[in-house]
Amino acid sequence: MDRRAFVTSAAAAVLPWRIAFSQSGWRTFEVTTRAEVDFAEGVSRVWLPLPLIDDNEWQRSLGSAWTGNAARADIARDGKYGVAMLYAEWPAGQPAPRIELTSRFSTRDRAVDLGRADPQAKALSAADFSFYTAPTEWIPTDGIVRDTARGIVKGARSDVEKARAIYEWVVENTFRDPKVRGCGWGDIKAMLETGNLGGKCGDLNGLFVGLARSVGVPARDVYGIRVAASAHGYRSLGVGTPMISRAQHCRAEFYAQGAGWVPVDPADVRKVVLEEPPGQLAVGDPKVVAARKRLFGSWEMNWLAYNMGHDIALPQSKGPKLPYLMYPNGETGNERLDQLDPDAFKYSITARELTA
């Protein structure tokens, strides 16, 4: 039995999976971000993440448009990762700065069959291998990170086996901490040093990425936002309303020879444990077991990917770098607005599915 067949049959055996995951059928969504700067003082600036620039087999950008009263608006890109964002600027004295960005994209579910070599899988260049095994400012790959990872992957030979071991370790040893603001900043060294392995996707999937990179498995975080309910019966893995201002979610990928980039999401397994009704599920609960199998090798694409960047220096800003760009960001009078507080910033994000 190949891996896909195994996962499918395992999924079908438990209730949460209403349908086996499908590789057909693109869905199209429209996401609208509206940002306003209340109490503007001096020059105001806003940075809004744009959908992933490069089309791939699971997401295609159909374009974006903006309206508002910005004196200047432009596409800006982070130099190292090519993260794309809409940058808007208002001069001092501009009353009620505001901008609205509408983006359309198509997406379809994604699954990689690790039991079968994919002849279409692109080889990773030496430069990309170095890039995706390198540390970031928040994700070191030496010291306690590497020591921990070496212990986890002991006996594993291939990249897939190493990634699998790290994935299982993250699922077994971490927990979703609902008290963490936003998605967590992914300070994985502090997590390992303190032994506090609680967090959200930025922390738990950041931990997966750091551990993988530290043992030479290329890996990366993918930052985005949930746009629709899960079609597989998981209330915790989707959004139930068009208002998605607080639905940001990051995922992770690792690279395997012969398979290409492989989607994983150990943080969502821990989300199922914590949040899926009735809550605080056991790791052996069928819902958790099914999610755990599925989320090593597949993503349900009720989610928009923004970018894969780390250590983002916002153009035109003198403020500190961001660990990642997943939320609207802004500043007025050179003071950063709280990106994790949509009501104070303020911003709203809505999503709707478009049907022909």
């Binding site: 374009g63 448009a65 903006w66 508002g68 009263n69 809409l86 509408t102």
Partner: protein
């Protein structure tokens, strides 16, 4: 009521949007365009060599695209008889959606369909409307991101400068 309110809000936002500016182009070579119109006829940007061409990427759902389009037609009319053309490239929509909009828009543009969005991406037209002024020699001279009042004296002078 809700729809009317949201429509009014959208309109209010759009009306307060200030004009963007034409910026000199420094983005390199001109990507090719070879796309079909509503009748299936193929058009290439290269066919317009010798003319100044405004390449405008748009979509029906893009509010500022819809709003700037009448000003593009006013510009075209003001340059009637001169070597100037407008290629209006719909991004990512089906012909029916685009055509229903165009039928209600009395503008003499060359309407093209970029269904797979690859042409828009090759032009780096990520945010709509995205417009490019291509000189008679085929080189991009200016670009504009966002809606522009194309019928303003300032913009027309820039276009006429490219035509010389």
């Amino acid at each position: 009521m809700l729809r009317a309110l949201s429509g009014a809000l959208l309109l209010a936002w759009a009306i307060t949007a200030p004009a963007q500016a034409l910026r000199p182009w420094s983005g390199g070579a001109t990507p090719p365009i070879e796309l079909q119109d509503f009748d299936g006829a193929a058009h290439r940007l290269a066919d317009f060599h010798g003319k100044t061409v405004l390449v405008n990427f748009w979509a029906t759902w893009c509010v500022p695209c819809r709003e700037e389009m009448p000003s593009i037609e006013r510009l075209r009319r003001s340059l009637d008889g001169k070597p100037f053309a407008v290629l209006a490239v719909n991004v990512g929509e089906n012909a029916r959606a685009a055509r229903s909009f165009v039928d209600a828009m009395p503008a003499r543009f060359t309407w093209l369909l970029d269904r797979d969005t690859q042409t828009a991406k090759s032009w780096r037209a990520r945010v709509l409307p995205a417009s490019y002024v291509v000189g008679p020699d085929g080189r991009i001279r200016y670009s504009a991101l966002g809606a522009l009042d194309w019928s303003s004296d300032e913009v027309r002078k820039v276009i006429e400068g490219v035509m010389k």
